[in-house]
Symmetry: C2
Subunit: 244 residues, 2 copies
DNA sequence: GCATTCAAATTGTCAGACATTTAAATGTAA
DNA sequence: TTACATTTAAATGTCTGACAATTTGAATGC
């Protein structure tokens, strides 16, 4: 493995970066064991705590996993879809919450991405994903639902729509886009009337997918986008004018 | 801040998770200073190295940044688009390289996502993004170009297409999808003939965007997808039959 | 042959110390 | 008073050494 020259940045960051490059370049392959902390410390001419900090950085990115005991150590981790989902959602959520992204921009991105997988979903939707969508639609019609629960169900519905496309890479990519919108959506107070309208759009989408009608599904999705946009704008307008 | 009960997992992981939740929930806001390492160690009743490992985990996810010196410390970091891009690309690249994703699936996801922003790109493309696309097309026509350089230019072209949509959230989401395909594309040997065909599609796309013709751009993109798919399949077929 | 025990390797945690960096506080001179 | 140099304090970065906890493989005993 390569070493670090004489620059003055954090040693642990440099070491983490060096190992990360080895993994990204495929020179360290999945399930391969890294040298022990003591050996790495010796190799990079630093102390063990410094090596440990570097390894923790990599562990935080799911690049390695560690195992205690004899013949334990740090191993290159196979990045699972589940872990990738989690990181994607964390990153997307923070990006949206910290950068004053307008509701309009986030909404546009989300629906553009969902439209991307709608034709595939119309082609490949399964009884399973359809059942999930129907179940969420039913839940959204329940009277006693809180706004948060309604939003969560909305997210689940759209996740099912995305998963219907049957492309795991697409599902992974869109997980963040859909989930990250939830905090923004949670700011909206859903009246009985608006819930009814949204459930109507959801039903149109599910019906269209069931009938393999891509165009109809796209139209319903676009209509839902437009409606969501007006709801969001009302909230923003009310917030901008806090005089009672 | 909350503490951790008596479970037996890594203390540093638990502490990192506790702080991460504070940030995600907005209870720690951007640029807010965390307690010093000594104070955190005291608060969680652990040693300073353990706290440091936890902080390095958070730093690896760009959740915090640290600053040395008096009045330094760990601060909640505003996640920038640049940092988010980087993490997105790392995650997507590893996911594709480690999970035996088929070329077809990755290709389908990529072009579905690009189609998602093509209508917006046709609407909003700027002289700037068009110039970038033209420049990359020109580079792709140069004779002496290596396969790697051709691929890199291809990625740059598609990045410009995505950026044309003028939606930073969309650009962020697609950065990973486009970049992560490069290692797969790099396996393809681009003959003079195939380069010529690809440049033709790129030109059609750029022309369509320049003329605000969304439908034409979508058609060219789909044709490019189909052609890329045949190229990839040829490579896979040749690889599956290694008898000279 | 099988269960038990033991030893070794490795990560997890701790304590204390020193080095380095940074900005505020202080002192000094024009 | 202002400008500049010096000191100081607080914080992170790093090192050393030690011990605890965990896991595996081998030795041991029956």
């Amino acid at each position: 493995m390569k070493i670090d020259p004489d620059n003055k940045a954090d040693l642990s960051a440099q070491i983490a970066e060096a190992i990360r490059e080895e993994i990204m370049a495929g020179r360290l392959i999945v399930d391969e064991r890294l040298p022990s902390e003591a050996e790495l410390a010796d190799h990079f001419a630093v102390s063990r705590p410094t090596v440990r900090e570097a390894l923790k950085r990599l562990a935080a990115q799911s690049l390695i996993r560690t195992q205690r005991g004899a013949f334990g150590g740090a191993f290159v981790n196979r990045l699972s879809y589940t872990e990738a989902y989690g990181q994607q959602i964390t990153t997307a959520t923070l990006l949206l919450s910290m950068n004053a992204i307008s509701f309009d921009v986030a909404c546009e991105a989300r629906y553009a991405l969902e439209r991307a997988c709608t034709p595939l979903a119309a082609l490949r939707r399964t009884p399973d994903t359809l059942a999930t969508m129907r179940a969420e639609i039913h839940r959204q019609g329940q009277p006693g639902l809180t706004d948060e629960a309604f939003c969560a169900s909305d997210v689940a519905f759209h996740r099912a729509l995305v998963d219907s496309a049957g492309n795991p890479v697409l599902s992974y990519q869109l997980a963040g886009a859909v989930e990250a919108m939830q905090p923004l959506m949670n700011m909206i107070t859903f009246t009985a009337r608006s819930r009814e309208v949204i459930v109507g759009f959801h039903t149109r989408i599910a019906d269209a997918l069931e009938g393999h009608e891509a165009e109809a599904a796209l139209a319903a999705l676009s209509a839902l986008e437009a409606y969501t946009l007006t709801l969001g704008r009302d909230v923003m307008a009310a917030r901008a004018r806090p005089k009672r």
